[in-house]
Symmetry: C2
Subunit: 336 residues, 2 copies
Amino acid sequence: MPELRENPVTQSWVVIATERAKRPTDFVHPAAPRKGTANCPFCYGNEDKTPPEILAYRPQDTRPDTPGWRVRVVPNKFPALSDEGDLVATREGFFRGMTGYGVHEVVVESPEHDLTLPYQTPEQVYNVLSALKERFANLSRDRRLRYVQIFKNHGGVAGASLEHPHFQIIATPLIPAETETELKNAYDYYHEHGECLFCRMMGAELGEARRILRADDSFVTFNPYGSRFPFETWILPRHHNSSFGSISEKEVRDLALAVQDALGRLDEVLTDPPYNLILHTAPLDLEAREYYHWHIEVLPRLTIVAGFEWGTGFFINPTPPEDAARFLQEVKNPEE
Amino acid sequence: MPELRENPVTQSWVVIATERAKRPTDFVHPAAPRKGTANCPFCYGNEDKTPPEILAYRPQDTRPDTPGWRVRVVPNKFPALSDEGDLVATREGFFRGMTGYGVHEVVVESPEHDLTLPYQTPEQVYNVLSALKERFANLSRDRRLRYVQIFKNHGGVAGASLEHPHFQIIATPLIPAETETELKNAYDYYHEHGECLFCRMMGAELGEARRILRADDSFVTFNPYGSRFPFETWILPRHHNSSFGSISEKEVRDLALAVQDALGRLDEVLTDPPYNLILHTAPLDLEAREYYHWHIEVLPRLTIVAGFEWGTGFFINPTPPEDAARFLQEVKNPEE
């Protein structure tokens, strides 16, 4: 019989559709044709194909917007939100809107067109995460912004229009609805139980152990009880902290290893699956220190989200997370 | 500059990304290869490939599960939820779950493998909607169920695994999270303003007129101000009513025309686009008569929902609904 499970963070429900149980090999997806490096705006020598760089880690003897960089941050050429103009409320009679003020940046992970995160050196992944942290800190100072969404689309099915590995940052003048929901549930839990909902959930996952993929001093990686997607994988900082913006240097180094491990396992078991990697963190201007807990969610895009999910917010997940974990746990040395 | 718009029903925000403005021809999608009628479980003569029928409109001199039917309702062969067994709460330590009790049915729209709704006779579409209403009434009597989700996936990208036109019904033992959100917002609006949020919104759309596609005595069709998807199209009953289950015979007949009109326009402008059609209605056991308003949302699936949307609940819509409406308004006689 199928099983319904509550996701304690979103308080929405997931159908674990055991009648449709799926193994990794059931998720075969055709390898997308590669466009290659020819006109890639993120490869060395093509720096003029992007707007001028905002930040780059590069030798001191190289000039901006020339080769030599290790990580490069540029404005998105086709931004979803614009940092020109002001934030102004608009009305159309009954309807409410505002000008689309915001920031949309791209973090190019390395000059290597085909080298994804699990196959980079840990030092390079540390550089990428350091650049994300640096941009987060910088955007935090813009008082018009309320939230910084860091994410990564990998594979065309997951929305990546350019194949050269990159993260994206979209900073918004509003707290997003999903974040509001998580915040409210976490706030209520904290005030009812006197502890952080995420700390409690992580403790429960560690106690249950079946869905844990990796745990070190700084991070715990697991396939959560209420997984909406097959092979959904979360990385939580072990020490309570509401904001990615305030993680320590050691945590940045340890996060590089945790991210490489998680993506390496998924790559090994599912053969370069399309996925969205989403960093959830507290809004910029909210004192959510006690009750919110920043974390990363990796959502492999192996199933189609259809009418039932759009209508209800229920997700149908054909792979119980315990089964996903069993496959992912078997991977040895995923970083290598 | 892009524009942010609030969807008054979900209170989430949409980015109308004017820098990326898209015309219908930008959404070219390859026609999927057709599997044809050979092994189609929904074609005449293959009635034994589905579980036994629950309901069929057929001549009195034909036997169940044989050809001759005009509309046929069968249990889904691979149900997301199961009607065997009872609804039992489960626990795994901290985590909450329940057995996956529920109902999952398929409504085959006609014996014609290739005839989609806009090209059926109005009488046949009336039959389909009547079957949906009849099943809704029947499922309403099961006290274990709290919500009946009626929906339709059209095209592989939108999650249709069988190409023969059909609706699906999934009845759940819980009120879905999306429905809860709509109900809460509608409840709050009603208690603050003394009128139905949906009636107010429909009035505003009719007043503004730019996004209206069609209006008759019974239904109003428009591309809503806060459209999340390009060419998103809503059909609202003009007379306030919280539940699809209680619509009149005349409304069923008029809805057939409204649905044919809306899907016919989309088909004409976007050339057989993949879409999800989702019927939103009040939960079964809730007295939501004053403040909720049942309706249909058609969501064309022309863009990829990626990390930003999953993380935030913000949607990026490259086609302002006013522009979508202009293209859709130009279609003449969409039913023909």
